[in-house]
Amino acid sequence: MRRRLAGVLISLAAAVPATAADLPAARLFVKPLLCVIDRETPGCSMTFDIRWKSEAAAEYCLNDSAQKAPLRCWPSLSSGTHTEKRDVTEAFIYWLGGPDGTQRVAEIRIEVLRLDSADRRRERRNRHVWDVL
């Protein structure tokens, strides 16, 4: 009885199509990674070159943390490239996952460095000998 139940479970598992949890590991490469903004340049107009590569072919989708819908999906491939132009004002994450959006197999954060400050005292200059910057 116990043996029969185990056999049924194994056959059921084999019949279930590959889910997001089964996605093979992948690596994501994005350039550039940094946006520098300032009082006079409040945003960066950037062109992102995005590449990914996985250990095995599967359906992968490229997402970003700013929106719910995937930017692009690739059916049953082990690598892909994508180019995207966008204006950046805040940090966000590109991530690679399955079509259902439940699993992230790789992610990269696009950083935003703000040079100006809400507190202008942080931009005061000193006259000390060691302060040369």
């Binding site: 340049t41 005292r121 931009e123 200059r125 000193n126 302060d131 040369v132």
Partner: protein, 284 residues
């Protein structure tokens, strides 16, 4: 005169506004994040020098440039300066600041030398006889002065300006300094460039304490000298290339033309102070 100068700086910078410190910076094209960490810690490693206009003194090497600062709502500590913000408005921030005088640093790396003094004879072809013994020439010691003053920071689409008025409160030199600086930062991609121009007026008491040769210090090789007030002029350039959010390649150059009364002092061998640095800077 001195108190009036301090008040004038504050009034000029502020006019009517007096909002709590730490509110928004005005004129910015987009509002910066509201929450910034109190601490700012950083270190730059590289090589640079600050020239030393004092006779018989070495230039000051700069291998490490540490940045340690803490900013509260009103109190702040910025690399040795201690400040209390009096008013913060959309266009300016005015603080009371205590600092150490910067002229003292030049008196930290001095050497003693011995020179032979010769009389100028009326006949140029006749060698002048030396004095009996070489005369010791040693730059005099000077103390640090604690200065208290008012500092206003202004900014807008036109750039940023700093107005400062400081007075000695430690009884060291008894003088005062007024200064104004203008800078503007240009940012493109990962590169930023910030030129600065400045002028400072140092009182006779301040200049004479540091750069005068006082009666008890005078000798045949170091004649008595009294320095008067004067203007120092300054220009500088800082360039940064941001490799990552925390790491940047930094270059800086600064040139300060000393007031005539400082440059003419027997204690000065240069009429300028030049500083440069290049290195990698990390902000934590």
């Amino acid at each position: 005169m001195k108190i009036a100068a301090l008040l004038a700086v504050a009034a000029l910078a502020h006019g009517q506004d007096a909002a709590p410190a730490g509110t928004a910076a005005a004129g910015s094209a987009s509002a910066p994040p509201a929450a910034e960490r109190h601490w700012r810690l950083g270190a730059a490693f590289g090589y640079g020098e600050r020239s030393n206009p004092l006779i018989q003194s070495d230039d000051i090497p700069v291998i490490v440039d540490l940045d340690v600062a803490w900013f509260g709502k009103r109190w702040f500590f910025d690399n040795g300066d201690i400040g209390y913000t009096l008013a913060d408005g959309p266009r300016s921030t005015t603080s009371m600041v205590a600092r150490l005088n910067s002229d003292r640093i030049f008196f930290g790396k001095t050497d003693t030398r011995y020179v032979n003094i010769t009389y100028l004879s009326g006949n140029a072809t006749t060698p002048a006889p030396p004095l009996l013994a070489p005369v010791e020439v040693k730059p005099p010691d000077r103390d640090y002065a604690i200065e208290l003053g008012v500092e206003s920071l202004l900014d807008g689409d036109w750039g940023a300006a700093t107005l400062r008025a400081y007075h000695d409160v430690s009884g060291t030199h008894g003088g005062f300094e007024l200064a104004a600086y203008y800078s503007r930062r240009f940012t493109t991609g990962r590169f930023s460039l910030e030129p600065t121009l400045g002028v400072s007026y140092k009182s006779a008491d301040l200049n004479d304490y540091y750069w005068g040769v006082h009666a008890n210090e005078a000798s045949a090789a170091l004649l008595e000298y009294h320095a008067g007030a004067g203007f120092n002029l300054e220009g500088g350039l800082v360039a940064n290339y941001y490799i990552s959010r925390n790491l940047r390649l930094a270059l800086s150059f600064n040139y300060e033309r000393l007031a005539d009364d400082i440059a003419d002092s027997p204690l000065s061998e240069d009429d300028y102070v030049m500083a440069y640095f290049s290195g990698l800077a990390w902000t934590f």
